[in-house]
């Protein structure tokens, strides 16, 4: 980090920060503290926990991690496993992988195809959740959906996406939905690479894969890690797949965000909901630390 003489006095800087601070305190810090405090109670919106919430210590937490039952479908352990698979598949491999591939494929290409593909990818990102979910329900339907219409036309049969391949379905869906963000980030990152590096490589006769491995990837490592952090955190907490599968069938796509929703909104158990949120927060924090550690290491190199 270069040491620059500040252009703004710290005082002015703080004044500029005031509006943001207002929002942060009110809508981020306060809810966060509330959630932590409530996670130690049995507070709920209806039922006895609503009138007389009691402090229950760590009971909500131990309930989540009750190792005898937590792997049963519908419980937290199952939810964690599903979410980890989901994040690994759709964030790490899916969105980042696809985004990176797109950025590299269109590197220094211009023209109609690039613009067209760019627009399509971004459209998948900006169209509202409800609309996209609806389209995908139609797309994945076993008997009438477009996907199976294509697959059966080329002889691959009609897989039951919603019942048997539900986790894979939402992984693909989420990849589709979020690839735009990493594509945009990587595209602009690639633009900062001086073209001379690649031209030199070309002169020497390097192949595409060699250029990729020896020049582009190492130069972009910092960016890749940063994008990975953001996308991992966002994907860990995304709720959109609920609109397609509602966590089912039989909890096979019960992401942690859906599990939280069910606890806090269907059963109104805010104490438990708070505990889940805190645990998720800690997991996110741990993941972020891992990435940041890797970032620092690569900065040193």
């Amino acid at each position: 980090m270069e040491q620059k003489r500040p252009l703004l006095s710290t005082k002015t800087g703080l004044v500029f920060l005031l509006p943001a601070l207002f929002f942060v305190i009110l809508f981020l810090i306060f809810p966060f503290v509330w959630i932590i405090l409530v996670s130690f109670t049995n507070e709920s919106l209806t039922g006895t926990g609503a009138l007389n919430p009691q402090n229950v210590g760590l009971a909500n937490y131990s309930g989540l991690f009750d190792f005898k039952t937590w792997m049963m479908r519908g419980n937290f352990g199952n939810s964690l496993i599903v979410t980890l698979q989901f994040v690994f598949g759709s964030a790490m491999i899916g969105q980042v992988g696809l985004g990176l591939s797109l950025a590299i494929a269109f590197y220094r290409r211009k023209g109609f195809i690039r613009e067209f593909v760019n627009t399509l990818v971004i459209l998948a990102w900006i169209i509202p959740d409800v609309v996209v979910a609806f389209s995908w329900i139609a797309f994945l339907d076993r008997d009438f959906g477009t996907l199976n219409a294509i697959l059966s036309a080329i002889g691959l049969g009609r897989p039951d996406w919603q019942l048997e391949l539900s986790l894979l379905s939402i992984i693909i869906f989420n990849t589709w939905r979020g690839a735009a963000f990493s594509m945009l980030l990587f595209s602009s990152a690639l633009e900062t690479i001086p073209p001379s590096y690649l031209e030199t490589a070309e002169v020497v006769g390097a192949t595409f894969w060699q250029k990729l491995r020896d020049i582009l990837l190492p130069l972009m490592r910092g960016h890749i890690l940063t994008v990975l952090i953001l996308i991992t955190l966002w994907t860990f907490n995304t709720f959109s797949p609920f609109l397609i599968t509602a966590g089912g069938p039989s909890f096979k796509t019960d992401l942690v965000s859906i599990f939280t929703y069910r606890t806090a909104f269907r059963f109104y158990e805010f104490g438990q909901g708070g505990a889940i949120a805190v645990v998720v927060m800690l997991i996110n924090f741990a993941l972020a630390l891992v990435y940041l550690g890797m970032l620092r290491k690569q900065a040193v190199e």
Binding site: K11, V33, E43, T46
Partner: protein, 489 residues
């Protein structure tokens, strides 16, 4: 450095502010501001008898229900807009009172409506009259979110003429701990709906009535053998269908073994024993062993709608559902409208395991739920709101409603016109019916656990013994060991 110090101070203040805010506002999550013990200031009796007590302040009331003209619950919305609101406003004007009424059409799902109610009531607001599902009452009452009519209106509520026309069992739909919270709109019953055309094709009697589970299964087997691409029997299971699984599915099967979900005599929940195993094995037979039902429909998120369409398209032969299926789904304008409904669809009573083995020694069983309207304890005008509620449940208002949507109403002086099926069901099934327990634990834990239990069987994930054990453990953990009955299988 001075600046660093300032910054540190500010950051500390920020954190402190966060904590202070939390401390200040965390406490109101205790008792909500329900203090409706103010007796209605107006002295007029809450009946339709005109009392000349002109109010000087204009009153505006709001009714909320899951009803949108041209969409969900359209008939209810129509009834409100065409009859209830204009007629009530007229009557108020005739009494010299300035009362206006507005309808709030809620277009979301039941679950969303419940969430909205919970939040509004907690914050001390909400619409004056709220459409309420009977089985929500216990958990809202226990949470202090709603109050009995006696508290909101005063003892005069008991003077309403309508009470004598509503059977006590129906009144109980909106009752908790022997206190009434509102007026039930109607009740319902569940039966087996079957396609007469498919039955005719495979040689089953047109006026079919099974008398035991075996006969029911035999009919299913006959259909399966003759028409392999038709699903013979669909009985609700799984978490996707929510309460519909418990009431239309599990209750119908469980009651046939002679046991209820909740033992009203001992006030306990039976959580294990042979009857449960028998019921679970019934599910297993239908969905796993003989594939007489389509498990897929029970596991998909929109399975219930698909099952309706499947029945309409003659791809499902028998469906265990409520009378609502007949009068609202298959009827004209319904989501699975069937043109020749009267000719193509018949109904049969759900048999017990064997004659005489059903609950109370019955040969046939059914279960009833019901919805109604409750009075919001936060209402600013309890007297007018009560007048409106009573008006909505007068004979004239309900008779008018019947012209829009014939169904079983709460009042015994309101007949079901023009619909022999509904009249017959009302006559034959209501005497046999069982209702759900008035207990917060039911809607919060027991019913979801039942849904989970059936889902585990139908998806093949667990054996009946395992599923029952999980159910027993979960319910015991929720209500305590002294409220469950454990019988050895």
């Amino acid at each position: 450095m001075k600046i660093k110090q300032t910054v540190r101070v500010i950051l500390t203040l920020v954190a402190l502010a966060g904590f202070v805010l939390t401390a200040c506002t965390a406490t109101p999550t205790a008792a909500p501001t329900t203090a409706p013990t103010q007796a209605p200031a107006k002295t007029d009796a809450p009946t339709a008898a005109p009392t000349a007590a002109p109010t000087s302040t204009p009153v505006n009331l709001t009714i909320i229900c899951r009803c949108v003209v041209g969409g969900t619950g359209s008939n209810s919305a129509q009834w409100m807009l065409d009859y209830v609101i204009p007629k009530f406003q007229d009557e108020m004007r005739a009494q010299g009172r300035d009362v206006t009424v507005d309808l709030v059409s809620f277009g979301g799902s039941d679950e969303e409506l419940k969430a909205r109610y919970a939040l509004d009531l907690k914050a001390g607001t909400g619409n004056d009259i709220m459409a309420f599902d009977g089985f929500w009452v216990p958990e809202f009452a226990e949470g202090g979110l709603i109050q009995p009519l006696e508290t909101v209106v005063g003892p005069t509520y008991a003077d309403w003429e309508g009470w004598s026309h509503i059977p006590v069992s129906v009144q109980q739909l909106l009752t908790y701990k022997d206190q009434l919270y509102g007026i039930a709109a109607g009740t319902d019953a569940r039966v087996i709906w079957y396609r007469k055309d498919i039955f005719k094709e495979v040689g089953l009697p047109e006026n079919w009535q099974p008398t035991s589970w075996e006969e029911l299964l035999d009919a299913a087997r006959t259909i399966k053998a003759a028409k392999p691409d038709v699903t013979p029997l669909q009985i609700n299971a799984g978490t996707a269908m929510g309460e519909a699984t418990t009431l239309q599915g599990w209750y119908m099967v469980m009651l046939g073994t002679g046991t209820n979900i909740f033992d009203f005599k001992t006030n306990k929940y039976p959580v294990s024993g042979q009857p449960l195993l028998d019921a679970l094995n019934f599910y297993k037979t239908v969905y796993i062993d003989e594939k007489l039902g389509d498990a897929r429909l029970q596991l998909l998120a929109d399975g219930r709608d698909r099952s309706f369409l499947s029945f309409r398209d003659a791809k499902t032969a028998m469906l265990v559902e409520g009378d609502w299926f007949w009068r609202s789904v298959l009827a004209k304008g319904g989501s699975a409208e069937l043109a020749d409904r009267d000719a193509l669809v018949g109904w049969a009573k759900m048999p017990a395991m064997a004659p005489g083995k059903g609950i109370n020694g019955q040969d046939f069983v059914t279960a009833s739920g019901g919805t109604g309207f409750i009075l919001n304890p936060n209402t600013k005008s309890p007297a007018e709101a009560w007048d409106l509620l009573a008006f909505m449940n007068s004979k004239e208002a309900l008779d008018y409603f019947q012209t829009l949507e014939p169904r079983m109403r709460s009042r015994d002086d309101v007949a079901v016109p023009n619909d022999t099926v509904m009249t017959a069901i009302a006559k034959e099934m209501l005497p046999l019916t069982s209702i759900r327990p008035s207990d917060a634990a039911y809607s919060k834990t027991v019913s979801p656990e039942i849904q989970l239990m059936t889902e585990r069987i139908v998806s093949g994930e667990m054996t009946p013994e395992e599923a029952m054990a999980a159910y027993a453990a979960a319910v015991t953990a929720a209500v305590g060991a002294d409220r469950v009955e454990v019988a050895a299988p």
